[in-house]
Amino acid sequence: MRRNESLIHIAAFLLVIGLSAVLYAVFTDTRPGLKALDASLKERVSYHYLLKTAGNPAQPAERKVTVGKSGYEDGSANIVTAIVVDYRALDTLGEVLVLFAASAGVGLLMSKRKRKIETEASPIVTTAVPMIMLFAVVVGLYIIFHGHLSPGGGFPGGAIIASAYMIQFLAFRKKFSGNLFKILESLAGLGILGMGLAGLYTEGSFLANFLPTGELGAVFSAAGIMILYALIGIKVASELSSIIGHFIGEK
């Protein structure tokens, strides 16, 4: 271990040197094209987006994207979602990675225990909790699947579904086994990476939106954003549920 330590230090040093060289090359690039430090607003995402018009709802033929590469990007009626999941999707992937690290840390540190208090919940609670759970799951799914139209999306929808999973611990004694969440979370993560690689293969950049957008403002439009947000919602919901289960689950 101690003998390999210096090798690891040398490798880390070389990695830092390589990354610094890449950064230097990016910031001192003199070739034509958009620079990293360029401030020309017409090349920026916000310029295209603030010029976007959703058109007249009475005439659906006018509801299309007027600026930008029509057909692929800009398919979402919600600007924030389009920026979070389309243009800045790599940032969202990093956020999901942070949440995954938190969930893995909780799973590593928290040990399962036996519940000591042996009281049953009252019938009012045990009757009300399934209904509230159903309502919360429906609200969460609505928020996830309307992420490209209305405020919200994968993160809050996943958190609402996780809170629906949480309140069943208040009423019922339930055993927690994280296998289902592990499988769901891994599949969703693989799906996000698969979408990214498909975008890289078809469009030339990682996590590029390669699916047709459809009519702007329709429920089934912006297919790429819908699929990505559904995967993010599944991943967030399973990670938060796994954290909750590790906190209060029983052996």
Partner: protein, 83 residues
């Protein structure tokens, strides 16, 4: 509307100070939940609806519940607040 936002902001400020000076941890956690749900109202008043939804679900519900279960597990391990 700007006066309502200012009133909610003053309430948030006083609530944040109250959280710090609570004697009991459980009271502080409950006050923190109230501050969270009020800041969700604040975000909704300032037309940031997605942030409001996230704050209401994560800040008000999940964080408060996790704080409470952490305190409960600490008490099961023998931690006593009064000591």
């Amino acid at each position: 509307m700007i006066y309502w936002i200012a009133a909610v902001g003053i309430f948030l400020f006083l609530g944040g100070i109250t959280v710090i000076f609570q004697k009991s941890i459980k009271n502080a956690v409950i006050t923190f939940g109230i501050v969270s749900i009020t800041s969700s109202l604040m975000f909704a008043m300032m037309k940031a609806y997605d942030v409001a939804i996230t704050e209401a679900s994560i800040g008000a519900v999940l964080t408060t519940a996790l704080f409470f279960w952490t305190i409960k597990r600490l008490e099961e391990e023998g931690y006593n607040e009064k000591k």
